[in-house]
């Protein structure tokens, strides 16, 4: 057997053996060290636990492992104790002594740090019993929270690089492509182009050299699956890329990552270095004739660079504007050479497909969309986090079973998928099975997989305005339709949200949207009207209310709302007065307060601060706002109450 291959297998066996020996005797404390949990103090908790274990001389019985993103970011910083799978959330470094004392020494799980089920209000000890994890299907994220992303041994112990071994030992490049094509894998970046076909086109190109690019320029606001993937299991991307390179016939690859993801860059850099050490990258990979190397290129904060031709220009050091396609990058790409650009999640699917076979993979999902998809479930939702679910799952399952519903039992209004290129799917389509075609039909798109949940307090005009602002900012300016079209859309939306909408504005949006779509060159322009068009399709009455009645039904648009203090309820406690940042609340102690509308900036601080049992402050809009008369000046509460009592008596007396 070739030397390097043997060495790799030996390392893997050793790692497995170690895990076997440990299991039962040693507890692994898997502390989440994804960006989310680190910001909450993940590293500090890890250190505190290590110190405590050291102090109590438990080093033989417990090991602390920093893992990548666990997914349940809403509960972070969090910890899972393996092998039992006890889940602890909302940790602080001060909890370390209790945890070690109770759980490790006495074997008693700590109830007060457990996840509490919102329905039964009871603590749930095990991760496997938490509904958030139950409906998920980890394929790409199979290793999340289970390995130390910085140790290649951990990845090897969980069958890592076995797919690569299989490929190099027994499959020809064409067989690999055939397998990927049969699996039905489609691009996870958004458009859903079949991966196998893309690879074949590039393989058939005669010109060399060819390049492979992993696209991790995850610019969609609200999407962070690629980042988490790299933070929790960078080797799955490296392995996927090596296999892809072998299939296509590529000797050099790049991973393009946003500079906003320093932790992911760091972990991938380490993964590439250790892969090189094990001769998984470089010349003669695992003693075969196949050579491939990988390089990281960072973006510098331009949304348009996620578009493939723009990304190519960015790597080349050219001005990162998209160009006309065809020719597609698979024919003319980096430095004019055939180039395959795949999303990071797509590439991370590859090892699993090769290892377990296309037949297995194609049993997951719907007829047209195979496999699983990672979504980031964010916004107005109880269980914020990263989820991996089979294609074809319904929105209801995602939002209510996994997401645990909307906070405060508010009504589910819409979910925004696909970032600024996607659209809003209304509550009425909650039973829609999620796949590429269904989302497209509903006027949205898969996009990279951000899912932003919106409740009844979200104004659809405001949401469209936000996205158009984003795309307007990020448009590179090459096509007039995109540059000026987004400007015009923004102008009209701003006008509508400020209550200056004119008759015909809604029709104008409906006309301009498709024009921008048709006339723009790249994906950014072709999809930028989607948020407007989809909200117009499902929530037209909201636009009409803004234009015709000057009313914002969700009470969001500042120019259309007023804050109003109900004199009957205001006890004159001065809370809102003290907290008003602009000094718009007038009054004194035991006087009914009045908001000076001319000064009020509508920040909403007063509404938040007013105690719920008083609830004297209301947001009003439209007709109500216009007709409501508040007091001219503050008057003593007693005087006001007396006046009211008099009025009531007078009415009754009559």
């Amino acid at each position: 057997m070739p030397l390097k291959l043997e060495e790799l297998r030996r390392t893997r066996e050793q790692a497995r053996e170690e895990a076997r020996l440990r299991s039962g005797k040693v507890k692994d404390l898997m502390v989440c060290c994804g960006t989310g949990c680190v910001a909450g103090g993940g590293f500090r908790i890890k250190q505190a636990l290590e110190k405590e274990i050291e102090r109590r001389g438990l080093k033989d019985q417990a090991r602390v492992v920093g893992t990548g993103c666990n997914g349940f970011c809403g509960q972070g910083p969090l910890l899972v104790v393996m092998p039992e799978g006890n889940f602890y959330g909302w940790l602080k470094p001060e909890d370390a002594p209790t945890l070690v004392e109770e759980h490790l020494v006495h074997g008693r799980p700590v109830e007060k740090l457990m996840y509490v089920s919102p329905e039964s209000k009871k603590p749930v000890p095990l991760l496997a019993d938490i509904p958030f994890f139950q409906k998920q299907m980890p394929v790409v994220l199979r290793n999340k929270g289970l390995i130390d992303p910085e140790r290649i041994e951990d990845y090897l112990a969980r069958d890592g690089y076995q797919a690569l071994e299989k490929v190099l030992a027994s499959l020809t490049p064409d067989q690999v492509i055939e397998e990927i094509t049969r699996s039905g894998l489609r691009g996870r970046g958004g458009a859903g182009f079949p991966t196998g076909i893309k690879w074949r086109v590039c393989r058939q190109e005669k010109r060399t050299p060819k390049y492979l690019v992993g696209n991790c320029d995850e610019g969609d606001p609200g999407a962070y699956m690629d980042r988490s993937l790299l933070e929790s299991d960078p080797h799955s991307l490296v392995e996927g890329m090596i296999i892809a390179a072998y299939a296509i016939g590529v000797a050099r690859g790049f991973v393009y990552i946003r500079t906003e993801y320093p932790l992911a860059i760091e972990r991938l850099r380490k993964a590439i270095a250790s892969a090189r050490q094990h001769q998984l990258l470089g010349e003669r990979i695992l003693d075969s004739d196949f050579a491939f190397d990988l390089e990281i290129r960072e973006g510098s904060g331009a949304f348009v660079c996620g578009e493939e031709t723009s990304l190519i220009h960015s790597i080349e050091g050219e001005s990162p504007e998209p160009r006309q396609r065809p020719p597609f990058p698979a024919q003319v790409g980096l430095w004019g050479c055939p180039t395959v650009i795949n999303n990071v999640e797509t590439l991370a699917n590859v090892p699993m497909i090769v290892a377990r076979g296309a037949d297995w993979y194609s049993t997951i999902g719907t007829p047209s969309s195979k496999g699983t998809k990672i979504f980031s479930l964010v916004g107005k939702i109880n269980n914020t986090g990263l989820i991996e679910v089979p294609m074809g799952i319904t929105l209801r399952e995602i939002i209510y079973d996994i997401g645990g519903g909307i906070p405060g039992n508010k009504a589910f209004k819409a979910v925004q998928t696909g970032g600024p290129s996607g659209g809003c799917i209304p509550g009425s389509l909650i039973d829609l099975p999620i796949d590429y075609e269904n989302l497209q039909k509903a006027g949205s798109m898969m996009g990279s997989g951000g899912m932003i949940v919106m409740d009844e307090d979200t104004c659809m005009v405001d949401v469209s305005k936000f996205f158009i602002q984003f795309t307007n900012d990020e448009s590179c300016g090459k096509c007039t339709s995109c540059r000026d079209g987004s400007e015009a859309l923004l102008e009209v939306l701003t006008r509508i949200s400020e209550g200056k909408g004119r008759q015909g504005d809604v029709e104008f949006l409906q006309e301009l949207g498709p024009a921008v779509k048709d006339a723009s060159m790249c994906g950014l322009g072709q999809t930028l009207p989607n948020p407007v068009l989809s909200t117009l399709r499902y929530f037209q009455e909201e636009y009409v209310a803004h234009v015709a009645d000057k009313e914002c039904p969700a009470k969001v648009c500042k120019e259309l709302i007023k804050y109003y203090i109900d004199p009957d309820k205001c006890p004159g406690c001065m809370l809102c007065l003290k907290n008003c940042p602009s000094g718009a609340v007038k009054g004194e102690s035991k006087h009914v307060h009045v908001i000076d509308q001319a000064v009020c900036t509508k920040c909403g601080e007063c509404l938040e601060i007013c105690p719920p049992k008083v609830a004297a402050i209301r947001k009003v809009t439209g007709k109500e706002a216009r007709e409501l008369r508040s007091l001219e000046a503050p008057i003593p509460v007693k005087e006001w109450r007396a006046r009211r009592a008099q009025e009531t008596r007078a009415r009754e007396g009559r």
Partner: protein, 295 residues
């Protein structure tokens, strides 16, 4: 100053000095009015500075698209005579009756026959072609010399070196001083305009100095719906600067960024690579204090 009286009959010829876009348009307008025009230009060809521009203010129109039709029209116009490589020596007379001496430098090429094919340049044994003067070499300010030279040495031989170079220079200096950009242009062989374009395209780069701590407030959708704007307002108020500005003591720069992928922590911000999440306005003084203490 006294003017000689106009003759009863104008001569009907005009001289335009300078073949830039203004001169070209003037020549065309005059010629359209039936007046013979002599267009004097000091350089070997008309076109002026505009021919070097990509886009023009304020309409962002492509400069060549504006110019090219005029160039062609002037070339074709029977009433316009182009005097290139020429200089006005003296002007005598008054309105309606000028006498101008123009000195024309030799071109050694018969302009009426030349098609501009360029074969002579390629075949010239001594390469005696008109070349612009060698621009003076740019030396870096001593403050940056070592850092920038080191970065250049590390990356200049890579394929596609520009982005890694710019990223490292930005990380080291926090912005691009003009001298550094000029130096990079000279050393990498990229035109300065190209480097400047890249340096201003990406939002992570800056050509104005930035503070030691760059506060990036996430304005992604999730953070936005959870109130990042109010966070930004508070920061802006506490630091006394607007977004995208830097405090006078060069300590803080306030910036908004696109989603940093910490949606579980919304609203969030980063300072120097550290993420702060689940923030409210009340957390702002704490964050600023921490940075000040670290400094």
């Amino acid at each position: 100053m006294s003017c000689e009286p106009l003759r009863s009959q104008p001569v009907g010829a005009a001289l335009v000095v300078g073949g830039g876009i203004g001169g070209m348009q003037a020549a065309l307008d005059l010629a359209a009015g039936g007046i013979k025009v002599h267009l004097v230009e000091g350089r070997p060809a008309i076109g002026g500075v505009m021919s070097q521009l990509d886009k023009t203010f304020p309409t962002n129109d492509c400069a060549m698209c504006t110019m090219a039709p005029r160039l062609v029209e002037i070339g074709r116009h029977r009433d316009i005579e182009i005097l290139s490589l020429s200089e006005v020596q003296s002007i005598q007379g008054g309105p309606g009756d000028f006498r101008v001496t123009v000195r024309k430098r030799p071109r050694f090429v018969n302009e009426s026959k030349c098609t501009g094919c360029g074969t002579c340049v390629a075949n010239c044994p001594v390469h005696n072609v008109v070349q612009p003067l060698e621009p003076p070499r740019i030396e870096l300010e001593p403050a940056y010399r070592e850092q920038v030279a080191g970065i250049l040495a590390r990356h200049r031989h890579r394929t596609g070196p520009l982005m890694p170079i710019l990223q490292e220079v930005d990380a080291a200096l926090h912005y691009f001083p003009e001298g550094v950009l000029r130096y990079l242009a000279q050393e990498t062989g990229y035109p300065l305009a190209h480097i400047y374009r890249i340096a201003t395209f990406y939002s992570a780069f800056s050509v104005v100095p930035r503070g030691k701590y760059v506060i990036n407030v996430c304005m992604g959708t999730t953070c936005y719906v959870r109130g990042s704007q109010r966070l930004m307002d508070k920061l802006s108020e506490s630091l006394g600067i607007k977004p995208e500005e830097t405090t006078p003591d060069m300590k803080f720069t306030l910036k908004s960024v696109r989603c940093i992928g910490c949606c579980g922590l919304a609203p969030a911000l980063t300072v120097g690579g550290e993420v702060y999440g689940k923030l409210t306005r009340k957390d702002v003084p704490d964050i600023l204090r921490k940075c000040k203490e670290a400094a």
